[in-house]
């Protein structure tokens, strides 16, 4: 038992500080992906519920592609694809320099693409739950389309979409584990290194699982608070 604690302690002999930095990377990647995924997802949902056929088609193609690809493959496509694309571009411009793509950025973009394709479906069903009269009411009191969206539709939309979005957040948190494959020092990579050096794989990957579990529990507490805040406007029963 003491040996295990020594292995997990902070400082030079233990792996505690390395793993803690991994937790930081995991959390910051998930937090950085969230706004990106929400924003793209919202606009894709807008496109999918538009009256314009071409917009709907474009939105549906987007969702089909990124919902159907394995997350790991999307990550590789973004990571290697961006690298090759930029090299080709630089070659065309006559430059021979090779550029390493930042794995944090690649992970953020790939996870953002996946997250947005799922969140667009959540937003879409939330849009459908809002009656047309809400828009018409907004226009009738002289609000512009943008104002109606911001002041009338969005507040209701967020409330309806919240359960679905919190599910997606939990999935996102777990999907961040994949970026360890392209070399980002997240929880999995740090515990993996520790496991390889100390030959205590079960201990360290067990710790990794517990850390993700702790993050999930923390998230559900935070989501509970957000739910409470969002339900404030509901009529008292």
């Amino acid at each position: 038992m003491d040996e295990m604690l020594a292995l997990l302690s902070l400082g030079d002999t233990g792996w505690g500080d390395e793993i803690a930095s991994g937790v930081g990377v995991t959390i910051s990647l998930a937090l950085a992906t969230l706004p990106l995924g929400l924003l793209i997802g919202f606009f894709v949902a807008l496109a999918k519920q538009s009256e314009e056929q071409t917009l709907r088609l474009a939105g549906n193609i987007y969702t089909t592609v990124f919902r159907g690809l394995p997350e790991l493959l999307t990550l590789f496509l973004v990571y290697f694809g961006a690298q090759i694309g930029i090299r080709q571009l630089l070659l065309a411009m006559g430059s021979e320099t090779t550029i390493e793509i930042n794995s944090f950025l690649a992970g953020m973009v790939a996870l953002g693409l996946v997250f947005s394709s799922f969140s667009s479906e959540v937003f879409l069903s939330a849009f459908r739950a809002i009656p047309r009269g809400q828009y018409e009411g907004g226009y009738a009191i002289g609000l512009s389309r943008f104002q109606t969206m911001r002041l009338i539709i969005l507040p209701q939309l967020i409330r309806i979409a919240l359960p679905g979005l919190s599910n997606l957040w939990m999935i996102l948190l777990k999907d961040t584990a994949l970026v360890s494959v392209i070399g980002l020092s997240d929880i999995i990579r740090q515990t993996g290194i520790a496991a390889r050096v100390t030959k205590e794989a079960f201990l360290f990957f067990g710790v990794a699982c517990l850390l993700y579990l702790a993050l999930a529990i923390l998230s559900s507490i935070a989501i509970g608070a957000i739910n409470h805040w969002a339900a404030k406007g509901d009529a008292p029963r």
Binding site: P70, L77, F205
Partner: protein, 279 residues
């Protein structure tokens, strides 16, 4: 009757088709579509132009093998997971609080941690217990990464499927149990003949999602050196440095997912045809 009515009251003409004006939304729509088609078309064009029959001849059989491994892995895990999910779901519904809490802990543990971490835990963790595993004769099982992957996947999907099943069973109205009891059926009979058929219809859609989730999730076994479709792709890329290896894998995965989705949609339509009123 209608003839007389039509004679006296002229049927209203359908409204003239609305002339769709060219506005901002339409422009955005066409631009968005053009970008999408441009990207997808560009990639397809690249795949056609970069067609290298030597490369294809070399790697296509390997991809086919990898695909078979992927499908075998997913099917095995799903079947074992389904078998294990039934007792877990029963335990979740059990009136005993300890049994319920244990099952909940299992489900929470496997749904709250990444599949990748679970696979690592089994694959690398098993190596650590080699002497113990050898003494009980299980080492031969855990030495093979494919077995480790199936082991972790089955435990994982069992947790998800148990939740699907539990939700579906709970969605069946209590009166169904009571009616079965009133007819003199035992609890097992009632469950098998009355509750389960109704629950499975509710569970149909989430089961389909779980299959797709598993198929997509199975790509991570490439990291523990299983040569599934993703593993073969990674190997092909590391040898040829040709980006189209990844693009072809994407095409195959997309086709698989879309096929399963369509099959499942048809199955669902067929199995719920007694519930539709319009047909």
């Amino acid at each position: 009757m209608t003839a007389i009515v039509n004679e006296h009251i002229q049927p209203a003409l359908p409204p003239p088709p609305v002339r769709r004006r060219w506005n901002g939304t339409r422009t955005t729509g066409w631009i968005a579509l053009a970008v999408m088609i441009g990207l997808l078309g560009g990639l397809s064009l690249y795949l056609i132009l970069a067609w290298d029959s030597e490369l294809v001849a070399k790697y296509a059989p390997k991809y086919w093998k990898g695909l078979q491994i992927t499908l075998g892995l997913v099917a095995t895990s799903l079947v074992f997971g389904a078998a294990m999910s039934l007792p877990v779901a029963m335990a979740r519904l059990s009136p005993s609080r300890t049994v319920g809490a244990l099952a909940y802990a299992y489900v929470y543990l496997f749904r709250g941690t990444p599949l990748l971490a679970q696979v690592f835990l089994v694959y690398y963790g098993a190596g650590e217990f080699r002497p113990e595993l050898q003494s009980v004769g299980l080492w031969a099982f855990f030495r093979d990464p494919w077995n480790c992957a199936v082991f972790a996947f089955a435990l994982n999907t069992a947790a998800y499927q148990a939740e699907i099943l539990r939700g579906a069973i709970q969605s069946v109205a209590k009166g169904q149990w009571e009616a079965a009891e009133a007819l003199g059926l035992t609890r097992l009979q009632a469950f098998r003949k009355i509750i389960l058929p109704q629950a499975l219809i509710v569970a149909l859609r989430p089961y389909g999602n779980e299959i797709i989730l598993m198929l997509k999730g199975s790509a991570i076994v490439a990291i523990i050196t299983v040569l599934d479709l993703m593993g073969e792709t990674r190997r092909a890329y590391s040898r040829s440095f040709d980006f189209q290896t990844y693009l072809w894998a994407a095409v195959v995965y997309l086709l698989m997912v879309e096929t399963i989705r369509n099959i499942w949609e048809r199955l669902e339509k067929r199995l719920t045809r007694h519930l539709r009123r319009d047909g």
